[in-house]
């Protein structure tokens, strides 16, 4: 049990190794010890102090004096913040020592507190780095959608408030969210991962080649393809990485005995838009298009909007890029120019 240094497994690492907690990163103690990172959590978690001690493996017997000091400090600094519940639990604790039922309450409080800290931690520099290692090792599973070809997913919450929904998996390849395949994750609160992590991860690590399946090793776009194909930037990310699982060849086409089911049929396809992507994704560069429209008021505008709706790809990417170089009206366009000049 104990290692050579005689330190038993910490609460954090034992929590993270529990069944169903595979998605959790181990939050570093420095992060938890920095009070700034815990701002506002006191009011969200019952028995906050005890829970925090449990997470940090601080022996409650040893620090009775410290605790009193802390409490006095708290009362001095923000007496009104520690109202109702918090004050009462402390009062009780002074009278009788910790009993078993108390421990289970603290344990669940500690889990809640850890989850909320975790939500903040994985959006910090250190935390997102740890999560990227877990992503590379495929700890978060793969997208169940057939056309996503086993793309690695990321754990996300649909709400930042605990108790609302369980953890979901965000697939960067189809930009959709899925229920984890194993029911053991249906007890994990989505708020412990939060709404921000998924999208922030993609912005922090734009160079992962998202089209790679979990079976393949992770590669970085810039190193993987030096040909320049698909390496251009669009709307602040690599064009190649914009929903690689969507688009004309990645939409399921319903057929009966080989014949496509018509859109006009009552049972015909209605949801293709959800998995669609323009064949020429430069039409998504709205800032450039707006600038172009403002520049030239010939009939071209109408053609453009028609293209966007039905037949993408009429103006060649090269021409568009040329036009983009000629104008630098918007900050987005400037960014795109900067990326291209590197090529």
């Amino acid at each position: 049990m104990s290692t050579s240094s005689g330190v038993p497994e910490s609460w954090i690492s034992s929590f993270c190794s529990l069944l169903g907690h595979e998605y959790f990163a181990e939050v570093s103690e420095e992060f938890i010890e920095d009070d700034f990172n815990l701002t506002g959590l006191q009011t969200q978690v019952a028995m906050y102090k005890e829970a925090l001690e449990m997470i940090l493996d601080v022996e409650p017997e040893d620090d009775d004096d410290d605790e009193d000091e802390d409490e006095e400090e708290d009362e001095d600094v923000s007496g009104d913040a520690r109202d109702g519940l918090g004050g009462r639990t402390h009062g009780e604790r002074r009278h009788h020592s910790r009993i078993a039922s108390d421990l289970s309450v603290i344990e669940s409080s500690a889990e809640m507190l850890y989850g909320l800290i975790h939500q903040r931690f994985i959006c910090s520099r250190a935390g997102i780095q740890i999560m990227s290692e877990k992503y590379e090792m495929g700890h978060f599973g793969v997208c169940p959608r057939t056309n996503c070809n086993q793309t690695r997913t990321l754990p996300v919450g649909l709400s930042d408030i605990p108790g609302e929904d369980t953890v979901k998996l965000f697939c960067p390849s189809c930009l959709d969210v899925y229920v984890p395949p194993n029911s053991r994750f249906q007890t994990v609160d989505g708020a412990f991962f939060g709404r921000t992590f998924g999208a922030l991860f993609l912005m922090t690590f734009p160079e992962y080649d998202l089209s790679k399946s979990a079976g393949e090793s992770v590669t970085n776009l810039t190193r993987a393809s030096t040909t320049g194909d698909g390496n251009e930037m669009l709307n602040g990310m690599y064009a190649r990485n914009l929903a690689p699982g969507l688009g004309p060849n990645k939409i399921y086409e319903p057929r009966i005995y080989g014949f496509r089911v018509s859109e006009m049929a009552r049972s015909g396809p209605r949801m293709k838009w959800l998995r669609d992507k323009p064949a020429d994704i430069t039409v998504l560069d709205e800032a450039r298009r707006a600038a172009e429209n403002a520049q030239s008021d010939d009939d071209d505008d109408d053609d453009e909007s028609m293209n966007m709706n039905g037949h993408p790809g009429h103006p060649s990417a090269r021409r568009l890029r040329q036009q983009r170089r000629n104008q630098n009206g918007s900050p987005m366009a400037v960014e795109a120019n900067g990326a291209e000049s590197e090529l």
Partner: protein, 265 residues
């Protein structure tokens, strides 16, 4: 006691199809009627596809009485499973077969859609090819009209040709009341509440495609199947407004707030 066991044993093995559909990993199959199996017309062309065709058919129809070694028995057993699967693909598009699969669909025997916005809509098994041994079975969700991989590896190994490329589309033509209401509800990636530009631009483009389709259908007077108000397609800005309201309330956003999932009749 011994008698009882042997009796139940023989009972059990005598109904090969019973045993087959109740064994682990075969939950997607329905039982094919004896009548259907014994009508040679329904089996046209399968004799070239299945090894030891006659023995396999005998086994499936419980008239197998060949004395052979275990290895041979195993081969025939395998052929019988293959034969059953191929007949199954034909059977499930018949009236009786569709009704049986419908019952299984209602019980969600094929699993539920993993997509969060589909709210556990039941799935249907389907093949990406009608040619045997080319593609494993996939699961079709009628709500998002997309296909997914089965969760369990036991199911992922089943041949897709045992269900075929047409069945899941035919069932909705035969039972149009089953077609679930479509929903524009979707996930929008956000960072600290702000939409991410690249994803948001794609979402806007996709929503335009959807609204175009709904206008097109309305012009042709075809029901679009979207349960949200038909008038909402007029104002494209409505979507954004709704999303922003959702954001202010601290909810995850949906493009158009939608009611509960359509349940199966």
């Amino acid at each position: 006691m011994d008698d009882y066991v042997s009796e139940s044993d023989s009972d059990y093995t005598s109904y090969w199809r019973d045993w087959f559909i109740s064994s682990r990993g075969n939950e997607y199959f329905c039982e094919i009627d004896e009548d259907y199996l014994t009508d040679r017309f329904n089996l046209t062309g399968l004799n070239t596809e299945v090894q030891y065709y006659q023995y396999a058919l005998d086994l499936v129809t419980d008239v197998f009485d060949l004395d052979c070694d275990d290895e041979m028995r195993e081969t025939i057993e395998k052929s019988a499973r293959h034969l059953y699967g191929l007949v199954h693909a034909r059977y499930i598009v018949t009236t009786r077969g569709l009704a049986k699969m419908l019952e299984k669909y209602k019980k969600a025997d094929f699993g539920k859609c993993p997509r969060v916005m589909c709210h556990s809509h039941p799935l249907l098994p389907m093949g990406l090819s009608d040619v045997p041994s080319s593609k494993p079975v996939k699961l079709y969700c009628a709500r998002c009209e997309d296909i997914y991989n089965p969760k369990s590896s036991r199911h992922a190994a089943i041949d897709g040709a045992y269900f075929g490329t047409s069945f899941h589309n035919i069932i909705f033509q035969v039972y149009p009341a089953l077609i679930p209401a479509k929903s524009a509800e979707r996930y929008v990636p956000r960072v600290y509440g702000f939409k991410v530009h690249a994803a948001a631009a794609l979402v806007r483009w996709q929503n335009n495609k959807r609204d175009d389709m709904r206008r097109r259908l309305r012009k042709m007077e075809v029901e679009s199947g979207f349960k949200d108000g038909e008038d909402s397609i007029e104002g494209d800005d409505d979507d954004d407004l709704d999303e922003d309201e959702g954001l202010a309330l601290g909810e995850y956003s949906v493009a158009q707030p939608a009611g509960e999932a359509g349940t199966i009749a």
